[in-house]
């Protein structure tokens, strides 16, 4: 008998593959119990089923947070950190610290302190004295803002939540009263819709003005921004099928289309507040009749009053504003008045602004009570109150962003880490400055951009996974959406997510980014420090230095400016959704850019910038330098790393069943996880796909380097090609890549068009 050599080869190959799979699993387990798995000592023993994790985390969350000895291996330890300050408290050896953080994170005992530098709350060259001043000023400002919020809702700052939310019960009676204004506002639209059923332009127009006036100045910027993309406005109506008339869709569509914000992907926005009820008065009347309590009658009065006004008057902002206070209960009026008189609040605090905020507050509470409920820390309702306060203050100072789901996931770690709410607030605020594009009213455009980047990264760095995902139709990459929006908080345990954050921030740290962040400072947060420290800066020089910076980001190419880190073009950030002209803050708009005080906000000075520019160029590790060229922040590379590291598993798991379902199954698996396995990121819930955060970061950094290199090669190549075809010998492969790149780019440009037609055709 002869042995078929091919047979042998095949069988050994399959054995090989089996081993690989096995070892893959082993890697996971090994990492669990070895390398970084010391967290088990907090009480977790062995592998736990996902169901039980919740309660386990409760048992061990607190000790885990404070124990510093549990982490082994490289990380930034207190001794190293203390040693990096000079006698005046300036940070001198930050690059070393960064390297350690990238390798293994920060010792939890110094985490809060280091984060303030990582996030850019304080500049490295600030003295401890300066920082103390700044901290004091920030705390004062936060408390002022908190007081403003308190006048609008007395619960703010008291440690109790604005609305009663039991374990499962949410009594909305109280909030309902608060929302009465909102409801009334809404009703104007309803009335309008039912009175005038014609889906003509005039109707749409009136809705438009109605809505913008309802929202007062606070949303002017949105209207503008949305308006700017009005070329796609007709899409919404175009989508209507004839039958929709039956459902009176027309009124809604016409109401929404003026501010529908078609993104590059062609998705639509629906204004949050004007609840257009297509059932018009019928359902409303039912509600009124059948809910004979005080709230309902108040509601009815408001509605009638406003509706009449709406019918009789041309809706101009001023008229509405004059009228509205009369239709609101007395308590509210006095509250508003006091807010208006508040000295630190510049601009006009509109009734709409207040009711908008109250409505937002309600949303905040609804989400706060279900954020990190597994942590023992949040069993204390006072801590939930803290979380709610910070989000409420933020929504007040940034009405253009307000509150968006996901933000509570981001603020929670700061509440845990910082004792003082003001400190937590400022860190959170700095994080949101980077990620604001993810939380906009128009939709999470930042994340959508990042998903596009991710697609391109995969295309350039891993052909296998790219073609596989293409084959199975997973181009949307939506399974990565949550990872990017809440920065792996839902995929990782609390502690691991924090570690991942600091590692990513360290890898992305670049003090020049702080310049951009400075420009992104919200008006009400600009702080004036005593003139002593101000003297360090000369206004002109700052501007010179900024202007000299090439607006590299504007041509960030395939990579988006999604992180908001690199969006500086000129003085004002392009994507920085600063509510420059928004309601309460409008008075000062334009002022900030000419006020040097903004630059003291983070304690940055001209001298510091120049010094750090030098530092970065000479000492910075490669991982830092890449971002300065306008490429993207690390999170998206982390997602790419996760996919690439698990290439085989993904390709295997997402191929066996029929393709479309497979992709969706994949998405589902990502999302189904109830997480909290320490140290590990899991993608498939039962078919666990694990790896360590450290490895993910390492891979992501390498990937970014490779990606930046490849993009540059392509850029250089195409540039050279256009200049002089003969000068450079171009490899065939590179040529192909470049082709693809160009295709993708042009595809992206026409994407909104494509998507549009896709939507219109209803697939």
């Amino acid at each position: 008998m002869t042995i078929d050599p091919l047979q042998v080869l095949l069988s050994s190959l399959s054995l090989c593959i089996k081993r690989m799979r096995l070892s893959k699993k082993c890697i996971g387990v090994v990492m669990c119990s070895g390398g970084e798995g010391k967290q088990w000592s907090c009480g977790k023993a062995g592998v736990v089923s996902l169901q039980k994790v919740g309660s386990l985390v409760r048992d061990l969350s607190e000790p885990c947070l404070s124990q510093s000895h549990i982490q082994i291996g490289k990380m930034l330890k207190p001794e190293k950190w203390q040693a990096s300050f000079d006698s005046e408290g300036r940070v001198s050896g930050f690059q070393k610290a960064l390297k350690l953080i990238i390798l293994g994170g920060i010792d939890p005992s110094i985490r809060a302190e280091v984060w303030e530098f990582l996030l850019g709350c304080y500049s490295l060259s600030s003295t401890s004295e300066h920082r103390n001043q700044l901290r004091a000023a920030r705390r004062k400002r936060y408390n002022d803002l908190l007081k403003q919020c308190q006048t609008m809702h007395s619960s703010v700052g008291t440690g109790s939540l604005a609305y009663v939310v039991g374990s499962k019960v949410m009594d909305m009676r109280k909030s309902y009263r608060d929302e009465a204004v909102k409801v009334a506002t809404t009703d104007e639209n309803r009335e309008e819709a039912s009175v005038d059923d014609n889906n003509d332009n005039a109707n749409a127009e009136s809705h438009h003005s109605d809505w913008s006036s309802n929202n007062g100045g606070a949303d002017t910027s949105h209207v503008h921004r949305r308006g700017s993309s009005s070329e796609s406005v007709d899409l919404a109506s175009g989508r209507e099928s004839p039958e929709s008339v039956v459902y009176n869709t027309s009124s809604f569509v016409s109401a929404s289309s003026p501010y529908g914000f078609p993104s590059p992907d062609g998705y639509f926005d629906f204004p949050s507040l004007p609840v257009t009820d297509l059932f018009g008065r019928n359902s409303l009347d039912q509600i009124e009749v059948s809910t004979p309590d005080k709230d309902a009658s108040l509601h009815r009065e408001l509605r009638t009053a406003n509706a009449d006004l709406v019918r009789e008057q041309q809706r101009s902002t001023s008229e509405i504003e004059e009228v509205r206070p009369d239709s609101v209960d007395g308590l509210r009026i006095s509250d508003v008045a006091s807010v208006k008189e508040s000295p630190s609040r510049v601009g006009n605090v509109t009734e709409e602004g207040v009711s908008e905020w109250l409505w937002t507050l309600h949303r905040i509470v609804v989400d706060v009570v279900r954020t990190d409920g597994h942590l023992e820390f949040y069993e204390d309702p006072g801590n939930l109150g803290r979380m709610s306060d910070i989000l409420a203050v933020y929504a007040w100072v940034d009405p253009a962003t307000g509150y968006c789901q996901g933000m509570s996931d981001l603020v929670s770690p700061f509440v845990v880490l910082f004792e003082d709410n003001a400190d937590a607030f400022w860190c959170f605020e700095m994080l949101i400055r980077r990620t604001r594009a993810n939380f906009q009213m128009e939709g999470p455009t930042g994340v959508m951009d990042q998903l596009q980047s991710l697609w391109h990264i995969l295309q350039l760095t891993d052909k296998d996974i790219f073609s596989h995902l293409t084959r199975i139709g997973a181009e949307s990459l939506h399974f990565a959406f949550r990872m990017l929006l809440v920065l792996f908080r839902r995929e990782l345990s609390f502690n691991e997510a924090l570690r991942m954050w600091e590692m990513m921030w360290a890898a992305d740290y670049d003090e020049s980014v702080a310049e951009t962040l400075e420009n992104d400072c919200l008006e009400p947060l600009v702080i004036q420090l005593p003139s002593k420290s101000k003297a360090e800066v000369s206004e002109e020089t700052i501007y010179d230095s900024i202007k000299r910076e090439p607006p590299a980001t504007s041509k960030s190419g395939p990579i988006s400016k999604s992180s908001g880190l690199l969006s500086m073009s000129g003085l004002l950030p392009k994507s920085g959704p600063l509510p420059k002209t928004t309601g309460p803050l409008s008075e000062e708009s334009g002022m900030k850019s000419s006020s040097s005080s903004a630059y003291h906000f983070c304690g940055l000075t001209r001298s510091l910038w120049s010094r750090n520019d030098r530092t970065t160029t000479t000492h910075a590790p490669c991982v830092v330098s890449s971002i300065r060229k306008g490429d993207d922040a690390l999170p998206v590379f982390c997602v790419a790393a996760i996919l690439i590291m698990n290439r085989h598993k993904i390709m295997k798991e997402t191929r066996s069943i029929d393709d479309m379902i497979q992709v969706r199954k994949f998405i589902s698996s990502v999302d189904e996880m109830h997480t909290d396995s320490e140290d590990m990121l899991q993608i498939f819930n039962d078919k666990v796909l694990v790896f360590s955060v450290r490895r993910c970061i390492r891979t992501a950094i390498k990937l970014r380097r490779r990606y930046v290199y490849k993009s540059q090669v392509i850029k250089t190549k195409s540039h050279t090609q256009s200049q002089n075809q003969d000068q450079v010998q171009i490899q065939h492969q590179t040529h192909m890549e470049s082709k693809k790149l160009e295709e993708t780019q042009s595809q992206r440009q026409t994407q909104s068009l494509h998507h549009t037609s896709a939507t219109q055709n209803g697939d």
């Binding site: 297509l278 359902s283 969706r664 992206r748």
Partner: protein, 221 residues
């Protein structure tokens, strides 16, 4: 081709159903209760889109319901609108203890009809029926609205399980019935373009869908 052939395997019956409604009305818990018989009092807000596939037995046929769960906050709808595509069923959920969530139903219905087929089988679901003490939306109101809009109606409680399976089953059964009727009539019509039966997207046929999706490019699904 999915459902025009009699000897189709049961797995070919895959109905996409979307769960929509305001934040915190209990969409995710309805799904958790239905698909896994679980309930999370502390469940987190849904970010992005999740889904779960559940096998069901309708008239002796095995049917898979692929149930999509979306974030409730308006601004996410920009993203989630893509997920309406191909939906043949919908659960419009409100919270009987929060009037506001009921008032949003109209907007959600518009949303549904804007982004998906008009013939989506829809049930209006008043969730949290266990919260009798603080009910704000009377059953009669929900019923009246459902009748006016031609929707099915049911009050459910993901907490105590009441009516949860029934709500999903109502939708799936109706889809199945419509489908069966259409299949029959199409067979009579000598197999017209099967896509016209269901706008070509109701029952997921992998090979077809794949072809379409390839054209989409990144992030445009």
């Amino acid at each position: 081709m999915a459902f025009h052939s009699e000897d189709d395997k049961s797995e070919d019956y895959l109905f996409k159903i979307v769960l929509i409604g305001d934040s915190a009305v209990g969409k995710s818990n309805l799904l958790a209760r239905f698909a896994r018989d679980e309930f999370y009092p502390n469940s987190k807000s849904t970010i992005g889109v999740e889904f779960q596939t559940q096998k069901m037995d309708i008239n002796g046929k095995e049917i898979k319901a692929q149930i999509w769960d979306t974030a409730g906050q308006e601004r996410f709808r920009a993203v989630t609108s893509a997920y309406y595509r191909g939906a043949v069923g919908a659960l419009l959920v409100y919270d009987i203890s929060r009037q506001q969530t009921f008032q949003s139903i109209g907007r959600w219905l518009n949303e549904l009809h804007t982004h998906s087929d008009m013939n989506v089988v829809t049930i209006l679901v008043g969730n949290k029926s266990d919260l009798k003490g603080i009910r704000e939306v009377p059953t009669s109101e929900g019923k009246a609205l459902a009748e006016a809009q031609g929707l099915f109606f049911m009050e459910t409680s993901a907490l105590d399980s009441s009516n949860v399976a029934a709500a999903f089953e109502t939708v799936v059964k109706e889809i199945y019935n419509i489908l069966s009727r259409k299949v029959m009539s199409s067979q009579e019509l000598n197999k017209q373009d099967p896509a016209s039966l269901s706008n070509g997207k109701k029952v997921v046929i992998p090979s077809e869908e794949q072809g379409e999706s390839k054209k989409g490019g990144c992030c445009s699904t």
